[in-house]
């Protein structure tokens, strides 16, 4: 029954807090810790079918939310653009190896730092401030 793990992890990162604590726990064991339904069943002290139902229910909530809000899909577009910005900054840095402008080098570094922070955030549910 396992769905695409990367997709499920992304959905969980964006919308996981809409699940109950119990749903989150079981989902996490299955998709992030990669335990089997049987292992989770033993660990959580509920039936294998109960684990399965809870995970399917969680998947449905996460998918329905993405169908409505589409934020995961949109942020894929963000990620592509961040990568392009970093590429453009790398071209500037390359041109600057001849010119050796300190201001340009400093600004390129800043762009790489900022885009790096934004990319890190895209990949996991960490706070950005």
């Amino acid at each position: 029954m396992k769905s695409d793990t990367f997709q499920m992890s992304m959905l969980f990162d964006f919308y996981g807090e809409l699940l109950t604590d119990k749903q989150k726990e079981l989902f996490d064991l299955y998709y992030n810790e990669d335990l089997s339904l049987t292992e989770i069943s033993e660990l959580a002290g509920i039936s294998r079918q109960g684990v399965r139902d809870a995970i399917v229910r969680s998947e449905t909530i996460l998918r329905d939310t993405e169908d409505k809000l589409g934020l995961v899909k949109k942020y894929a577009g963000y990620d592509r653009r961040l990568e392009e910005i970093r590429q453009a900054a790398a071209y500037i840095a390359q041109a600057n190896t001849r010119i050796r402008s300190f201001e340009i080098a400093k600004s390129v570094d800043r762009i790489l730092q900022l885009t790096g922070e934004m990319q890190t955030w895209l990949l996991k549910d960490s706070a950005i401030s």
Copy 2:
């Protein structure tokens, strides 16, 4: 009763699709079209109190979702970083007025274009692909 309009518009942009069509319609008339409760009541053919209740209910859904997911808050951090990237690109452009490197000018333009697209998206619920 009106809450901060800008904040409510942001919440609506991110999470509006979690509301029913009726809730969306009333919320939009109140916060985006700036109609009064009485005007909406006449337009929608429901009591003023009914309109009020529906809008308060929608506000609660949007606020609760933000309390759980915090995506609006996070993207304020994004917006600040995009502005800083554009500033760094402007410094490079300025340094380049002396150097006149075509590669640098082209890369700066690309960075401004990409960050511009990302900012536009942050401000409204348009598709990004």
